[in-house]
């Protein structure tokens, strides 16, 4: 039985603890009494994944029929897949999506289905390139379908979009026409965090800006406390996607959802110490850590990125569930919680986060300052249920160098957002009302999104909104080791060391604050009582 997560109280026996800081990490001594939240140990994976997939497809959940019975000759079948943003880091091949696709396609072939289209559900994310797609779906699927019948979703191809209707809250639902008009959509998901999957898969992954703006906005994000807690009433964004998903269902769009969960084996053996608790490090782990730390510090950025690009997660599959969306997602969340939930008693004055090198939007790319903001105050801050780990008005201290760097191909609109928008204001509501529409409809960004590998023009806005709740909740945000200019542009403060940061936070939290360090990754959810 793997050990559950727990909360450590730093005492004099505690060694320095590992803290991620972008493309590197540090060993940090924490003040005595600091609480450190550790994730549970990885759950054992399913031994026979093929059998599990076969079983899930043959014995679906909810009111769905087994997949083979839904497939027939002459039908129109669309298979949608999650894109490169999950899991993080990309998992070792074969990717679970490949394994599932092979089963689904095999069944489709046996049933005589001819018209099959595979769509990577990128929504407003960048298009995946051929080699990325090939790695994800496997050679066989790639060779059979790419490029004509295996494509990236295009949210700006208005002819290929279908407006399904409006929810009772007046939200437009517009998704891929091909998907909407198919006899069956099979959605293949990887559920790394609690916000993934469920109705979000189709209603967000295959949706256009017209549809997404109803929930990807500041108001919704401020009422999503947290968006990692998809229980009704806790996450406005989830409630909205559920309404959209139900509208799709009621409009006759038939979805067969396949959801998978992975355990928490996030880092390969070569970085095995990142999966372990520090006091359990042997001499080998300590040596490896020092070698890796020095190695990345001394190597030039290009080499460093190449090193991280090659990091593949040896995730093991903990669950494969298929059938009706809501029934499947309920089981998926239970599986996810089994792996990720850690009970924490009470909030603290200060929350410390170590931001790793990777977030959902910089796979094979650069974690630019806006993505740093999103990863910290968006993702890691929101990894809670019930209450945030830090009290209202407390301080959030994050470790990241926040370099003023952007990927020219992947994030063109981010550059302008940083240079133009953030130079004027950092207030999410002002940004939304004043700039969003212009960026979202800018023809050049749209062109790059459709033909190159750029994130949509509006995407940096979403990243900013994603951190809106954290920003609103925290009284002070300090980056340890952050580049002064870029941190200032984000509207935050920076410090050279944790000690300085705590000194600076005195005005907000007093001289002897309670401190919590959230020791992630691996991903976990703090259940704060």
């Amino acid at each position: 039985m793997p050990r559950p997560g727990f909360v450590l109280d730093v005492d004099e026996r505690t060694p320095p603890l590992l803290v991620h800081q972008g493309e590197g990490f540090r060993m940090q001594k924490f003040p005595l009494g600091t609480r450190v939240v550790y994730p549970p140990d990885p759950l054992p994976g399913i031994r026979d994944v093929h059998a599990a997939i076969e079983h899930a497809l043959q014995h679906p959940m909810g009111d769905s029929e087994p997949l083979p019975e839904l497939l027939r000759a002459g039908m129109k079948l669309t298979i949608a897949i999650d894109d490169i943003s999950i899991p993080l880091p990309p998992m070792t091949t074969p990717d679970i999506r490949q394994r599932i696709l092979e089963h689904v396609i095999e069944m489709a072939a046996r049933s005589g289905v001819e018209d099959v289209q595979l769509i990577v559900a990128t929504a407003l994310h960048r298009r995946m390139n051929a080699s990325e797609i090939k790695r994800m779906v496997g050679e066989r699927v790639y060779r059979s379908f790419y490029p004509n019948d295996l494509t990236n979703f295009d949210a700006e191809d208005h002819d290929a979009l279908a407006h399904i209707g409006k929810t009772d809250h007046g939200e437009d639902v517009e998704i891929s026409r091909r998907a909407a008009e198919s006899d069956l959509i099979v959605y293949v998901n990887v559920n790394l965090v609690a916000m993934d999957g469920g109705h979000k898969s189709v209603a967000v992954g295959l949706a256009s800006y017209r549809s997404l703006k109803h929930h990807h906005n500041v108001e919704t994000m401020l009422h999503s406390t947290s968006y990692m807690d998809p229980r009704e009433g806790h996450s406005a964004i989830n409630d909205s996607t559920v309404r959209m998903g139900r509208l799709l269902r009621d409009s006759g769009v038939k979805i067969f959802q396949i959801e998978t969960t992975v355990n928490s084996e996030t880092f390969p053996k070569s970085l095995g110490f990142l999966n372990k608790r520090e006091w359990e490090w042997g001499a080998y782990d300590q040596g490896l850590m020092m070698a890796a730390k020095r190695g990345v510090e001394l190597s030039p950025p290009r080499m460093r990125r190449e090193f991280y690009r090659r990091v593949e997660a040896p995730y093991r599959i903990t669950g494969v569930n298929a059938g009706e969306v809501e029934a499947v997602h309920e089981r998926t969340l239970a599986n996810l919680h089994r792996q990720q939930l850690v009970e924490v008693q009470g909030q603290s004055d200060v929350l410390i986060l170590g931001l790793p090198y990777l977030g959902p939007y910089n796979v094979n790319s650069i974690l630019n300052p806006i993505l740093v903001h999103c990863l910290g105050l968006g993702y890691l801050f929101n990894m809670y249920r019930n209450r945030p780990l830090v009290r209202q008005g407390g301080a959030v201290i994050m470790f990241h160098p926040v370099p003023w760097e952007f990927h020219q191909i992947h994030h063109p609109s981010y550059i302008d957002f940083f240079e133009e928008v953030l130079a004027e204001t950092t207030d999410p509501k002002t940004i939304e009302s004043k700039f969003e529409e212009r960026y979202a409809t800018d023809p050049w960004y749209t062109h790059l999104y459709r033909t190159s590998h750029a994130y949509h023009g509006v995407h940096p806005f979403y990243m900013w909104y994603w951190g809106a709740h954290g920003r609103d909740h925290a009284g002070d945000v300090i980056f340890v080791g952050g580049e002064p200019k870029s941190v200032a542009r984000l509207g935050y403060r920076r410090a050279d060391s944790l000690r300085d940061a705590l000194e600076m936070a005195k005005d907000t939290v007093g001289s002897s604050p309670s401190i919590t360090y959230f020791h992630a990754p691996p991903v976990m959810i703090a259940d704060v009582h």
Binding site: D11, P16, K29, R277, W279, E280
Partner: protein, 301 residues
């Protein structure tokens, strides 16, 4: 941060060279048992045996003989005895294993391994290596119950004699503690004799808590007894008692004379070596009483 500072922080934070500690709040969440055992088979190869004997003879023995004043008796009990055997002794000091290993005749020394607590001697790499090389030691998992003797049984089967301290830990007050039954069980199951050994003065020389003998070359006496063979249908409890009695008689013999000890044993009046009852300080006070520099008087004196 410079490399030097970093190394310094790592060394102090991770207690390099010392026993790693688990933060108190993490103790209930400690890693489950059964982690990879330190391999010790290499320490019983011909090369390692040769190295061990050289180190014992030219390193450990002169060093020990320089720091304490040992008196060795009863080695003739080993003459004509066929190995493997279990050497069983009272345990009051880290000196005990070294005393036994350095005083055993060469042919016995070459084929003898010491059972050492896994949680104490097999924690950090240098201690593991040192213990395995110098003592030919193998780990005994004190928390493993009956499973603790698995490796010992394999070694006996391979013809290795073993040094075992049935008390399981050094005495905190110099007196004998309760014997655990692992050694007697082993003896009965493998059909090997037990050679009792009484060690006196080691507690006074280097009690628990010290890592070097007291100055002044304190006297230490080690006395080998006659082998005790397990009898047919003898239970391990009975054998344990016999072992304890033999060690107590050896103590008596060492403190007085063979003649006196024999008579007392005959009358069942051998003084107990489990010390006085009562307050802990009384036991420690009694246990730390010096044993006398000259040893027992000779019969003709």
């Amino acid at each position: 941060m410079g490399m030097r500072t970093e190394l310094k922080e790592m060394a102090s934070g991770f207690r390099w060279g010392r026993r790693p500690l688990v933060p108190r709040s993490a103790e209930p969440h400690a890693e489950p048992r059964g982690e990879r055992a330190f391999p010790t088979a290499w320490a019983r190869t011909t090369a390692a045996i040769a190295a061990r004997q050289t180190i014992l003879k030219f390193g450990m023995k002169p060093l020990l003989w320089n720091e304490v004043t040992p008196r060795v008796h009863g080695l003739d009990n080993l003459k004509g005895l066929q190995g493997p055997v279990l050497f069983v002794s009272n345990h009051t000091s880290h000196l005990d294993a070294t005393l036994i290993m350095t005083t055993l005749p060469d042919e016995w020394q070459a084929r003898t391994a010491v059972g050492a607590a896994k949680d104490y001697f097999f924690d950090v790499w240098w201690r593991q290596t040192f213990t395995a090389l110098i003592y030919g030691a193998f780990p005994i998992d004190r928390a493993a119950g009956k499973g603790a003797t698995t490796m010992a049984r394999e070694l006996l089967d391979d013809g290795w004699s073993l040094v075992v301290f049935p008390e399981g830990a050094r005495s905190p007050d110099g007196h004998q503690q309760r014997f655990r039954h692992g050694a007697s069980r082993l003896s009965i199951e493998s059909g090997v004799p037990v050679v009792p050994i009484a060690i006196r003065g080691a507690y006074q020389a280097m009690p628990k808590g010290r890592n070097w003998p007291r100055p002044g070359r304190p006297p230490v006496s080690i006395r080998y007894g006659r082998p005790v063979f397990p009898q047919d249908e003898e239970t391990h409890q009975e054998l344990s008692l016999r072992m304890q009695r033999s060690i107590a008689e050896l103590h008596d013999e060492d403190a007085n004379t063979w003649w006196v000890a024999l008579h007392r044993a005959e009358r069942g009046e051998t003084p107990s070596i489990s010390g006085p009852t009562g307050a802990a300080w009384r036991r420690r006070w009694d246990g730390s009483r010096p044993i006398g520099r000259r040893g027992p008087g000779r019969t003709w004196e």
